[in-house]
Symmetry: C2
Subunit: 801 residues, 2 copies
């Protein structure tokens, strides 16, 4: 089963449109709820008058933040790390789109109409919309005195004195070696600042949930990536036990990290308990755009290197803009540890900040903080190479992590992550040469190799770029239960969410392999948190690996039970038995065997149950950021070739070649599609995806006309991938996110090679590229020729070296 | 938690009518199916023409037995012990009401209309409607050559040569001691024959199921008492894996044994897979009456006794009328072992037969074969007492099983079942006296003690009677899984069905007790066979005991995991730790403790899972019927006082006093209501419940006007119960069925005492009683004065003794 290219188990339903998305669920007597959202970026909610709405046809209930605060049955503040959010704004609205009130009515139209009748009196407050504004002295505070807010995960969110009355959510500090000595030793110093914007997840299915409250039990059907955690949040908010909150997830129409945090579930649950009716909360596409996004970032890196290219010092200030509520920001900022990239650096000093601004809450987003630092560190590597006059490939090969090297966190990367192989392979695939052969205008053919160097405005020029990234993952709370039935078939119970990635298929392959059963003999359940064991979330490219391991442990437990039962049934010693093809066999006597079905039936047990857990292995020191940051590391390489039209500024990606180390591919189809999908996500974010707010904090492009995602026309003209596998193993490295972070810097490095100017702010829109070309051609500062000379401020240290 | 009178966890939903019965489920796109049933008791199906039905408005599919037989994707013959039934009659219809075809249509009305359009050509065959007819030489055979039918449970249904071409389904033989020697030794021999009729279960909610087929997975929402077994049947019929068939059961509106066998589920599933639409199959009340019933019985007992009352020989022929399909008859006939009653008998010879007749299939029914034998053996005891001139109470006390005695099956009843105490107690409660004081006509007051002996016709006379019964139970496949959540709350996963008996509440109490948690900290799931482990069925008064034990084992496993985790967290040896009130505590250092929530959270495991199984302990020898018939024995005593109106024949139950040994009552409210409910079931079956067929095999009373169940007016004027508990234990004896079998013989014994004639055929309708009174008063045979002289043939052996 391992390595088989089997189709998805739900392929027929996907094709015929008959999957039971939560979005399609209706229950008898169900109410429809619609949300009133703040029109102000920062405003005290003085009074909400819902009387007209309550009198409107079909309206059953209206709920405001004041109602939440006044209800002793609720504990409305919640959050995965810091409890700074409520289902409805209680004291203040903190961004344009912040939920202020909700109406439940007999029909959706009635709910929509009634929302318009709610009158809110606000006291408008000054607001901040970006990192700089949030950190400026005297900036308006989103959560003044926020350190009084309860921390849900004190292991992550340690108290940090002095930050109470700032907009800083939390700081992660990494201290390694002697940073002063490192820079003193360095012969060249390069310092630059890179930024990334807010981006939307754009799942096909918007956030939605239906809640029903009966018999003291809350049942929630939801489109959520973290059903177990969602159940715990809802239980906390409604002062219920986790055992009484059941979250059922069928299949998601996309998630990408944006569906980890409960957005509709608490509201649906509170309304369901109040009205004793099932309640649906479902977001419009416009609401989806103001519900969760990717963290904008600003990252300053100062690198100290020797003339031979050896990295000796890395200093970085990493700022993640968490928006109005902290969500996972307190933990995401730990990704500052990867601002070094996948390189050996002996002396490191990183401060990584999460910051509140009056924008939509930033959540997890495919890549979880790594795309931001990768955008910085991989352009920084090219900038260093430029400063040294060195081949960027050679610079990377010189410094990239080898087995046994220590990562920035001090942990030894024992495993061969194959960086050197994959870098050389990607370089070869894109026809990398150093120095780049002079290249002329190209006609967009992919097969052409070295063409010409950058030419004057109006001509199309080409360039090539490389990037290497490192990404960790999360193992918290991966549990599985398996049930072997009387016919020898196996049910697998997990809270892993199928969201298009093929989890139901791949986990079944792993279970079938471990159980020595055909794939048809295994069925993986979808999450139902009353019945399926805890799993933190389906995210972090973790499920195939960690849930797969938990499943294998659970199956091993059942195999041991089978052997113990068969030992008495076969009158043999357990040690003389082994498992083969769904049967227990006496070693060396293939005729003496009992099938699983025979063993279960004979024992009259009915079914055999086993459970498995994959333990957490992560621990970082609060003071130094040193320790173990991830149970496993995922490498990715991207080689890119681009063509830039210097007349329009349009960047065309001619070729992408991805290099990955999936360990073993359980299902190569899924792996290849994950790599392609994540790479296209990367192309969109590189070239055009960006949430744009006006001066009032109003999102100007909350729709799919003004906010573009990649279409078939944006697929690179050539796309390749190299996968290095561990043969004959089932050691899995997650792939769902890994390709993404490498794409943008590789393309930017290629653009820099083509144009001789560097874009340090994403995305590479034609306007931005054209402006740089104009600056370059005017000889403006930072507009000089040669990769590494464009963009943000840079300081050489040649003089002092 | 143990012994607490907590209300049912779903009390609010019961009162407000908001429980999610399967009957109320509708799914988008759902089809409605209706069944065409045979109008003939026995007929070969020559041809079914469904063309007009298929052309009717809204009809999506019509299915016939021929379709089932022709479909290579199906294996239509199924059954719990012998596979002699198909979802639709394939070769022959075997009773009036046998499903012949089914229509699925867009609306229920369309399905009902289309059923009328199906044309069936039958070859009508001779039929048999009772045990005598079925066993008569040359009787028409329902399943000729039936021994070729596959046996699903060869451990139960051993081959019995010579029965292939008879209507005998199966025979259970019990041989103990030396029956010849026993009768040779006996000083008195009493022989009588007793009969019971067919009876309906009459659940408020009729049988129904909705099936949906998606992604190779069948989901069935059903009102069934045995979801795990149902899943296995459906998997077998549709040639699917058990892992791919999910049976979901919310709450049943009553079951009483009639919902153990799948009646709607296979049809719904086959139609759902054919149409790729959800399909509902739901029975009308009239259909419910022809779907499953209680086994009619005829039981001849010949007892050999010494003049001092010592029982020395017991010979019985026990016939259970299984109707047209065997269902659980092959195993139910084993209850012939209880035809001795709860008495020591050294020499036993029992042949217990299951017989096919052209009537509705007889299924499990509250008491599972014991009410039939109890009706016989407890009247037989009074007949013996009469023959000996002995106090029936004294006769029972002399022979009743004491701890250490051997039961008919040879197994030692080690446990004190408290028969003597309970018999004396019931006798005292009803004012038992021997010889009975002369009693005159009563006015229906309950408090009156000894009144008068039987008087002439036209007067109301009173009598008192006693009965003692013994009932076994079943332990097959009781499994539980528990999940401890991060807040210390506990989910309990079982396939036990809530059907009004309070399983969700009582199992939660047991789990809470074992886990040292408050009841509010425990939630028991309803069955979902993809996720909940196998359980044979919710029946046989087994769930509180055996599922309770499985749950306790599962909780113990989690407790051990908690101790192991806490040992490292508290830096203590596991042996020094104990569990108290939801925490792990260092023995002797109450301050050193961690709550379950702290342990789960600190360990980052997310949830802890444990599983538990209660093993099967039953095994009977095929030749002798000796061995262990039940993992546990349940006693019941009934004391009854009746008044009989000799003018109308009407019997009024003045008083019932039940004596039971529940072990420990987990929830006394539930126990008391179970005893009351089962006793009222007994009153109905004693006085008026009876399925009546005409000569063509047509049921004449398939409705609640002509088939009466007890109303409030039938509740005894006084009702009491004595429960002997084991203090400070959690040893449970099931109660759901136990009281029922004792009621009818106690009332009949009281009627015999009042009238001086004995009714040996149930029910005691006024017509039947009046006829006996008339016979008595005419001095007809068997109509003489004195209990034990009336009814069936009786032979004394005084002469030969």
């Amino acid at each position: 089963m391992i390595g088989e290219r089997v189709p998805m188990v739900d392929a027929y339903e996907r094709i015929t449109g008959t999957i039971d998305y939560a979005q399609n669920l209706t229950l008898p007597g169900m109410l429809y709820a619609r949300i009133l959202r703040s029109a102000h970026a920062h405003a005290r909610v003085i009074r909400v008058d819902a009387s007209k709405a309550l009198a409107a046809p079909g309206v059953v209930a209206v709920l405001t933040g004041a109602d939440l605060a006044a209800d002793p049955g609720l504990k409305p503040w919640f959050g995965p790390f810091i409890k700074d959010r409520a289902p409805l704004a209680i004291d203040k609205a903190r961004y344009v789109g912040d939920p202020v009130a909700i109406v439940a009515a007999e029909t959706d139209d009635q709910a929509c109409d009634a929302v318009e009748l709610i009158e809110v009196e606000y006291e408008v407050l000054p607001a901040v919309f970006d990192i700089e504004g949030a950190l400026a002295p005297g900036a308006p505070l989103l959560h003044p005195g926020k350190r009084h807010l309860e921390s849900f995960r004190p292991d992550i969110v340690a108290r940090q004195p002095g930050l109470e009355d700032t907009n800083v959510i939390h700081v992660y500090k990494l201290r390694r070696g002697d940073i002063e000595a490192g820079f003193a030793e360095a012969e060249v110093v390069v310092e630059r600042t890179y930024t990334t914007p807010g981006v939307a997840h754009v799942p096909f299915e918007t956030h939605n949930a239906v809640a029903d409250y009966k018999g003291g039990k809350m049942t929630i059907w939801s489109s959520i990536q973290a059903p177990s955690s969602c159940g715990a949040y809802v239980a906390g908010i409604l002062r219920m036990n986790i055992s009484d909150v059941r979250v059922i997830v069928s299949t998601l129409g996309g998630g990408y990290g944006g569906k980890i945090d409960p957005m509709c579930e608490p509201l649906a649950a509170i309304l369901a308990r109040r009205t004793r009716r099932p309640v649906r909360v479902s977001l419009t596409r416009a609401e989806e755009f103001v519900t969760a996004g990717k963290h904008p970032s600003r990252i300053r890196i100062r690198s100290g290197v020797m003339r031979d290219g050896t990295l000796v010092a890395h200093e970085a200030d990493v700022y993640y803009d968490g928006g109005s509520y902290s969500l996972n920001t307190p933990e995401k900022i730990y990704r500052g540890y990867a601002s070094t990239g996948p390189y050996r650096v002996p002396n490191i000093h990183v401060d990584s900040y999460g910051v509140y601004t009056n924008t939509l809450p930033a959540s997890a987003f495919r890549g979880y903080g790594i795309p931001q630092v990768a955008w910085a560190h991989e352009q920084q590597m090219d900038a260093i190479a430029e400063a040294l006059g060195m081949d960027p490939l050679a610079l990377r090969l010189k410094n990239v992590l080898q087995p046994g090297d220590q990562f920035s966190t001090g942990e030894t990367i024992a495993e061969n992550l194959h960086y050197s192989e994959l870098l050389r392979d990607a370089a070869e695939h894109i026809g990398w040469a150093w120095p780049p052969a002079p290249r002329g205008p190209g006609a967009g053919t992919v097969t052409g190799t070295a063409a010409g160097a950058s030419a004057g405005a109006g001509a199309r020029v080409r360039g090539k770029g490389l990037a290497a990234i490192i990404k960790g993952t999360a193992s918290y709370g991966a549990n599985a239960v398996v049930k072997l039935n009387a016919d020898g078939s196996l049910n697998v119970l997990t809270s892993t969410v199928e969201m298009g990635q093929g989890a139901l298929t791949v986990l079944a392959q792993i279970a079938a392999h471990e159980a020595t059963l055909p794939l048809s003999g295994v069925r993986v359940s979808t999450p139902d948190t009353a019945n399926t064991p805890f799993d933190q979330m389906t995210a972090a490219s973790r499920s195939t690996n960690f849930m797969g391991r938990a499943i294998r442990r659970a199956v091993k437990s059942v195999k041991q039970q089978l052997i113990d039962l068969a030992a008495s049934q076969l009158e043999a010693a357990a040690g003389d038995l082994e498992i083969q093809d769904g049967a227990v066999v006496v070693k060396g006597s293939p005729g003496r065997r009992l099938t699983f079905a025979q063993i279960v039936t004979t024992s009259k047990v009915g079914s055999l149950v086993g459970s498995g857990h994959e333990p957490v292995k992560v621990k970082l020191d609060v003071e130094t950021g040193q320790g173990v940051a991830s149970p496993q590391w995922h490498p990715a390489i991207c080689g890119a070739e681009v063509e830039v039209d210097q007349e329009t500024g349009k960047v065309t990606v001619l070729q992408l070649h991805m290099g990955l180390y999936p360990g073993r591919m359980i299902n190569p189809i899924h792996c290849e599609l994950q790599v392609l999908g994540a790479s296209l996500f990367g192309v969109g974010q590189t070239l055009f995806e960006e949430l744009v707010w006006d001066e009032q904090g109003v999102l100007t492009n909350p729709n799919l006309s003004d906010y573009m995602i990649p279409s078939f026309l944006d697929v690179p003209r050539a796309f390749g991938q190299t996968m290095i596998e561990i043969p004959d193993s089932i050691d899995v490295h997650g792939l769902g996110e890994t390709p993404l972070p490498a794409v943008a810097p590789a393309i930017a490095n290629a653009v820099a090679q083509a144009l001789g100017v560097r874009v340090v702010d994403l995305p590479l829109t034609p306007e931005r590229v054209l402006r740089l070309i104009h600056e370059r051609d005017r000889g403006a500062p930072g507009g000089g020729r040669g990769a590494g000379a464009g963009g943000a401020s840079t300081s050489g240290k040649e003089a002092s070296a």
